[in-house]
C-alpha cells in the first residue's frame, strides 16, 4: 500500500432526525485508531457544513480521503464532494458510512457503526466485508402467515419441489386480501385471484398447512431451526369435515364476524367464509356455550353432526418441526378509528372504516354488494335496538371518503400507509358505479398515486365526477339532524361543510399486534414504527439480521398487493438459492467488529 493515505472521518448529524442508538464518541474514538485516519471530527447539526470552510480544513490537514459517517450521511455528500474538489483533491474519494443503511438500529448499534466506519475507511463495501459465514441448510421452510404474501412464498417454494410448513393464526388462509372486493387499479375481483391460490396451497403435497396455529418458540441456528408450533384445538377434524353447515345452523351463539369486519355475525361453530381453506368448520372456544359451561349446556351441534366429527375433548397440541429457513409474512392490523374521536366512528352509525366498506360492497357481503345505510332494527333476542345493514335499506345520497385516518399524523402513525389513497379512489369508483346519482367527496392531503396505472386511475375518478377536495377533513358533526363533514379546501381557499349520509374512513396500516412477541421469538429487529427491519432497505429488502429468516409483505412495511406478491416471490428465490446450493447465510451478528475490520483490511489490500 506504500505511504498510508491521509483519511478524515467526519460524523454528521441531520437536524431534527430521529437518531440511531449509536454512541458517536465511542465510534469516533474507534475511528481514530484505524490505519490511515489522520483526522476525526464529530460535527454538531448546526451549522450545516460549508464547502469552502471544509475545503480550507481539508487542504490544511492534507486529507486525501474523506469519510462522511452518520445516520444518513448521503445528505451531506454534496457539500463534502464540493469541498474536496475545492481543495484540489479527488472528488470520488468521498466515502459514506451510513449507520441507518447498515442496520445500526439494534442494541449493538455502536458496534455495528464501528464496523461500518471501518469498512468505509478501508474503502470496502460493508456488505462484502460483513457477509455472514455460510451455513448448511435444512431444505424445509417455515412460512408464518397465510395472507397473500405467505401464500405466494409458500407456493413458489413448494412448486420448486421443496417442503413448506405454512402456519396461520386464524382458521383459514387468505388474510386481508380475501376480504377485499376489488383490487386497484385494475378492478379485478380480489377473491377470484386469491381463492385458486388458496386452494392450491390446501392441496399441495409439499405444503403442510397448519391453520389456527401459532409459532411458540424458535431454537437452533441459521439453517437448522427447531420450531415449536402451537396447534390450537379446532374441535372439528378439518380433513373429514364436508362443510354441510348443519352444525352452524343449530348453533345459538352469535358473535361479530372477523371476516366481515364486524358488520355481520357468525356462530360459535363457524367457517370463516365459504371459500375458506381448509374448507372446514372450527369452534370458537371463547364463545361456545358448551365449552364455557364445561359441557353442561347446549351441545346442539354435537347432536346434529351426522359424521360425528365434533370432538369437544380436543386439546391444543404443540408440534415441533425442523426447518432451514423461515419466511415471516404476518401482515398488519388496521388502525382503530375510534382513537380519533372527531371523526365520530362508533358514534355515528354510518361512519364506516375501510374494511367494513370492503365487506359491504362485496358481492359476498351481507347486502349482496348493495351499498346501503345502516337501519335501526330491534334484536328480538337481546330486546335492544341495533344498527344493521339491510339489503333493502336506504341508499346513501352522498358519501365522503377521508384519507390519512391515523396515518401521516404524529399523534398516531407518522408514516404513510401507502395503500389508502388508492383504495379510497377505488371506493369512490365503486360508489359511483353502484350509485351513479350519489355525490361522492374525496378529502385528501396529498394524492399518492405512485404505481403503474395509478395516476390514470385518479384521472378516471375525476372524470367520474367525484368531488376531490384537497384538504384533510377535520371533523364529522351532527348539524340540523344530518351528519355533516367539515374541512378546508385549500385549493379553493374555502371552508367546506357537506351534509353526507355515509363517511368512509381510510384507516392506515399498523404492525400486527403480535409482531412484538414474534420478533422476540425469532430474534429479529423491528424499526421505530414496529415493522420488521430488513437487512438493507435498498439492496436486501427481504433479509433480516438473523440468517435464514426472511420477511415478506406488509410486515416489513406498508405495501400494496403487487408489491407484497413481488417481495414474497423474491423471498422464495432467496430461500431456494440456499436450499439448492446447500449454503445458507449465517447471522451477521455473529461477526465481531474486529473480524469485519480485518476482512475489510484484507479485501482492501488484495
Amino acid at each position: 500500500m506504500g505511504v498510508p493515505k491521509k483519511i478524515g472521518v467526519y460524523f454528521c448529524q441531520k437536524e431534527a432526525a430521529l437518531p440511531m442508538p449509536v454512541d458517536w464518541d465511542a465510534v469516533a474514538e474507534y475511528a481514530r485508531g484505524l490505519p490511515g485516519v489522520a483526522h476525526v471530527e464529530v460535527r454538531s447539526p448546526r451549522p450545516a457544513p460549508d464547502p469552502e470552510v471544509l475545503a480550507h480544513e481539508i487542504k490544511k490537514r492534507d486529507l486525501k480521503v474523506v469519510v462522511v459517517a452518520g445516520d444518513s450521511p448521503g445528505h451531506f455528500k454534496p457539500a463534502f464532494t464540493r469541498a474536496v474538489a475545492l481543495a484540489g483533491g479527488e472528488p470520488t474519494e468521498v466515502r459514506l458510512a451510513s449507520f441507518r443503511q447498515h442496520g445500526a438500529g439494534a442494541d449493538d448499534g455502536t458496534e455495528r457503526a464501528k464496523a461500518v466506519v471501518a469498512c468505509a475507511v478501508h474503502g470496502v463495501p460493508f456488505g462484502l466485508a460483513a457477509s455472514p459465514r455460510p451455513t448448511a441448510v435444512n431444505p424445509a421452510t417455515l412460512v408464518i402467515g397465510g395472507g397473500v404474501a405467505g401464500i405466494q412464498a409458500a407456493l413458489e417454494i413448494a412448486d420448486a419441489g421443496q417442503k413448506v410448513y405454512l402456519v396461520e393464526k386464524t382458521g383459514t388462509i387468505g388474510g386481508h386480501m380475501a376480504m377485499f372486493d376489488k383490487t386497484f387499479p385494475t378492478l379485478d375481483c380480489a377473491a377470484c385471484i386469491l381463492t385458486p391460490k388458496m386452494v392450491a396451497v390446501g392441496q399441495h403435497e409439499k405444503i403442510d398447512l397448519m391453520t389456527y396455529a401459532e409459532v411458540q418458540d424458535v431454537a437452533g441456528e441459521p439453517g437448522a431451526y427447531r420450531v415449536k408450533v402451537l396447534k390450537k384445538a379446532r374441535f372439528v377434524d378439518p380433513d373429514a369435515c364436508v362443510a354441510c353447515h348443519a352444525c352452524m345452523e343449530v348453533c345459538p351463539v352469535a358473535v361479530p364476524s372477523e371476516f366481515d369486519g364486524g358488520i355481520t355475525t357468525r356462530k360459535a361453530i363457524y367457517m370463516p367464509f365459504p371459500q375458506a381453506v381448509p374448507n372446514a368448520y372450527l369452534v370458537d372456544a371463547a364463545a361456545c356455550t358448551y365449552i364455557l359451561s364445561g359441557g353442561k349446556k347446549c351441545g346442539a351441534c354435537l347432536r346434529k353432526c351426522a359424521k360425528e366429527l365434533i370432538h369437544f375433548d380436543d386439546r391444543d397440541e404443540v408440534v415441533e418441526i425442523e426447518v432451514g429457513s423461515i419466511v415471516v409474512a404476518t401482515g398488519y392490523d388496521v388502525f382503530d378509528a375510534r382513537r380519533i374521536e372527531r371523526y365520530g366512528y362508533g358514534v355515528h352509525p354510518n361512519v364506516l372504516t375501510a374494511l367494513e366498506f370492503e365487506r359491504l360492497t362485496n358481492a359476498s357481503g351481507p347486502t349482496g354488494g348493495a351499498i346501503v345505510m345502516k337501519t335501526l332494527r330491534r334484536n328480538k333476542r337481546t330486546k335492544q335496538d341495533e344498527w344493521v345493514f339491510d339489503a333493502e335499506g336506504p341508499r346513501p345520497g352522498s358519501v365522503a371518503i377521508v384519507h390519512c385516518v391515523g396515518s401521516r399524523d404524529k399523534k398516531y402513525n407518522p408514516y404513510c400507509s401507502r395503500v389508502c389513497c388508492m383504495y379510497s379512489l377505488k371506493f369512490a369508483h365503486l360508489v359511483k358505479e353502484k350509485l351513479p346519482d350519489a355525490v361522492c367527496y374525496e378529502f385528501y392531503i396529498d394524492m399518492r398515486a405512485f404505481g403503474k396505472g395509478y395516476e390514470e386511475f385518479f384521472e378516471r375518478i375525476r372524470l367520474e365526477e367525484v368531488f376531490v377536495v384537497r384538504g384533510r377533513s377535520a371533523k364529522v358533526v351532527e348539524k340540523d339532524g344530518r351528519m355533516t363533514i367539515k374541512g378546508e379546501d385549500i385549493l379553493k381557499d374555502r371552508l367546506v361543510e357537506f351534509p353526507v349520509d355515509m363517511v368512509l374512513l381510510s384507516v392506515g396500516l399498523e404492525p400486527a399486534c403480535a409482531s412484538d412477541r414474534l420478533a422476540g421469538i425469532l430474534g429479529i429487529d423491528r424499526d421505530e414504527d414496529g415493522w420488521f427491519r430488513e437487512t438493507d432497505y435498498n439492496i436486501d429488502p427481504t433479509g433480516t439480521e438473523r440468517g435464514g429468516i426472511h420477511v415478506a409483505g406488509v410486515c416489513q412495511g406498508p405495501k400494496d398487493i403487487p408489491d407484497a406478491v413481488a417481495q414474497a416471490s423474491a423471498v422464495a428465490a432467496r430461500v431456494l438459492k440456499s436450499v439448492v446450493s446447500g449454503r445458507g447465510q449465517g447471522s451477521r451478528a455473529s461477526l465481531t467488529v474486529e473480524e469485519i475490520e480485518s476482512r475489510a483490511r484484507a479485501l482492501a489490500g488484495a
Binding site: R342, I445, R470, R472, A474, E488, D493, L495
Partner: protein
C-alpha cells in the same frame, strides 16, 4: 403586482418564537377546527403558507394573526405538531415590531436582555426623578403621604401621568396608522367607502370591552381570564387618569377605591393565574413562552403588588414613610410598563386586536362587494 419572496422570513420569525413552520403540510385541519376562522379569513394554515413561502408583504398586511385568540385547538389537532397556534402568536409579535416605526419593539422582541435593560434603566431614572422631585419641589418630607405637604403632590403626579399618556398615545397612534396602511391603505384592490369606516366604528368598543370573539372558543375560561385582566387594567387606567385626586385623598372614597380594589384583585388574580399556567404548561396556549411573556407578567404582578401595598401601608398601618417609598418603587414599575410595554411590546395588542376586528370587517365587506361585482359581470346578460 409582483410579490417579492424573502427566503429568510422563517428564520426571522424564529426570533419571535415561531417553531417548526416547515413541518406544515397544508392539510387544512387547523383552519377547519378553528372556532374563529371563517371566510374570507381562513387561518392559521394560510398564514403558515405565507411564512413558508417568505411572502413578507402579504404577511405584513395580514390581519389574521390578530383575529386569533390562541385557544390552542389548532395546535392540539395538528397532525404534524407544527404548532400553528404558537406560530400565529409569533406573527403577532413580529407584526407588533413591524407596526412600530421606532424599531424599539424589534429590539425588545429579538433580545430580552435589551428589553430588561431598558426597563431597568427607565425604572432607575423614574425612581431618581421622583425622589429628586419629592425632595426638591414636593413637600420635601418623606413622612407625609397625602394632603398638605405631601412628599409627592397629587397634582404633579397627575400632570406627569397625562404627559406620559399623551406621549404613549402618540406612539401608539402612529403605529396604529401604520397598521391601517399595511393592511388596508396600501391594498389598491380594495375599495372601502369612507362611510363604512363610520358605520363599522362601533366594532371597536364592542370588541375592546367584550372580547366577544374569544368567547366563541369551546373553552370559556381563557376568555373570562383575558376579559377580567383587560377590564381590570382599563379600570385602573381610568382611575389614575381621571380620578387620581380621589385615589390619593386622605379618607377612603369608596366610589373610587372600591373599583380600585376590584381592579387590583382582577390584575393580581389573572396575572398570577397566567404565570402559574405558563410554569405548569398544561394548557396549549401556555405551553410556549417567549421571554417577553415572562417580563410582561412579572412586571404586571410587580406593579399591582406594589400598588396595593402602598395603599395598605398608608390606609391600614398609617406608615407614611413606608407608603411613600413603596409608591416610588411602584412608579418605577408603572412607568416602564406603560412607557415601554404599551407602545413597543405585548400591551400593544390591547389596541391592535380590536382595530384588527374593525379593519377586517371593512376588508371582508369590500371583498364580498368585489365578489358580487365579479359575479355580476361574469353572469350572462338578460336577453
Amino acid at each position: 403586482m409582483a410579490i417579492r419572496a424573502n427566503p429568510r422570513l422563517v428564520e426571522e420569525l424564529e426570533h419571535y418564537g415561531a417553531e417548526d413552520v416547515a413541518k406544515c403540510y397544508h392539510c387544512g385541519n387547523c383552519s377547519a377546527v378553528c372556532p374563529f376562522s371563517r371566510e374570507p379569513f381562513l387561518f392559521p394554515r394560510k398564514s403558515m403558507r405565507y411564512l413558508q413561502m417568505g411572502l413578507e408583504e402579504k404577511l405584513l398586511g395580514n390581519l389574521e394573526p390578530w383575529l386569533c385568540y390562541y385557544c390552542g385547538e389548532c395546535s392540539e389537532e395538528c397532525p404534524r405538531e407544527a404548532e400553528p397556534g404558537e406560530t400565529m402568536m409569533s406573527m403577532r409579535r413580529w407584526l407588533t415590531s413591524r407596526y412600530d416605526f421606532t424599531g424599539i419593539s424589534k429590539l425588545f422582541y429579538r433580545s430580552w436582555k435589551a428589553e430588561l435593560a431598558a426597563i431597568l434603566l427607565v425604572a432607575l431614572l423614574t425612581g431618581a426623578g421622583f425622589l429628586l422631585f419629592g425632595f426638591r419641589w414636593g413637600g420635601g418630607h418623606l413622612g407625609v403621604y397625602a394632603g398638605e405637604g405631601a412628599f409627592l403632590t397629587t397634582g404633579a403626579v397627575h400632570v406627569f401621568d397625562w404627559i406620559l399618556g399623551c406621549v404613549l398615545a402618540a406612539f401608539l397612534g402612529i403605529n396604529c396608522a401604520r397598521m391601517w396602511w399595511f393592511s388596508i391603505g396600501k391594498d389598491r384592490t380594495l375599495r372601502i367607502p369612507p362611510l363604512a369606516y363610520l358605520r363599522q366604528a362601533f366594532l371597536l368598543p364592542v370588541h375592546f370591552f367584550t372580547q366577544k370573539r374569544y368567547a366563541e372558543c369551546g373553552k370559556k375560561r381563557p376568555w373570562a381570564i383575558h376579559l377580567a385582566l383587560m377590564l381590570s387594567y382599563t379600570t385602573m387606567l381610568v382611575l389614575i387618569m381621571f380620578f387620581l385626586h380621589a385615589m390619593h385623598s386622605e379618607r377612603t372614597v369608596w366610589a373610587a377605591h372600591g373599583f380600585g380594589y376590584l381592579a387590583t384583585i382582577g390584575l393580581l388574580g389573572t396575572s398570577i393565574y397566567a404565570l402559574r399556567g405558563r410554569i405548569r404548561k398544561e394548557e396549549t396556549h401556555y405551553k410556549h413562552s417567549h421571554e417577553t411573556d415572562w417580563i410582561f407578567l412579572i412586571l404586571l404582578v410587580f406593579v399591582a403588588g406594589t400598588g396595593i401595598l402602598q395603599n395598605v401601608l398608608y390606609r391600614v398601618f398609617h406608615l407614611d414613610v413606608a407608603a411613600n417609598v413603596v409608591y416610588v418603587v411602584h412608579m418605577m414599575g408603572v412607568v416602564p410598563m406603560l412607557g415601554l410595554e404599551v407602545p413597543f411590546s405585548k400591551w400593544a395588542h390591547l389596541a391592535y386586536r380590536p382595530l384588527a376586528m374593525y379593519f377586517s370587517e371593512l376588508q371582508a365587506e369590500a371583498i364580498r362587494e368585489r365578489e358580487r361585482a365579479v359575479a355580476a359581470a361574469g353572469a350572462p346578460l338578460p336577453a
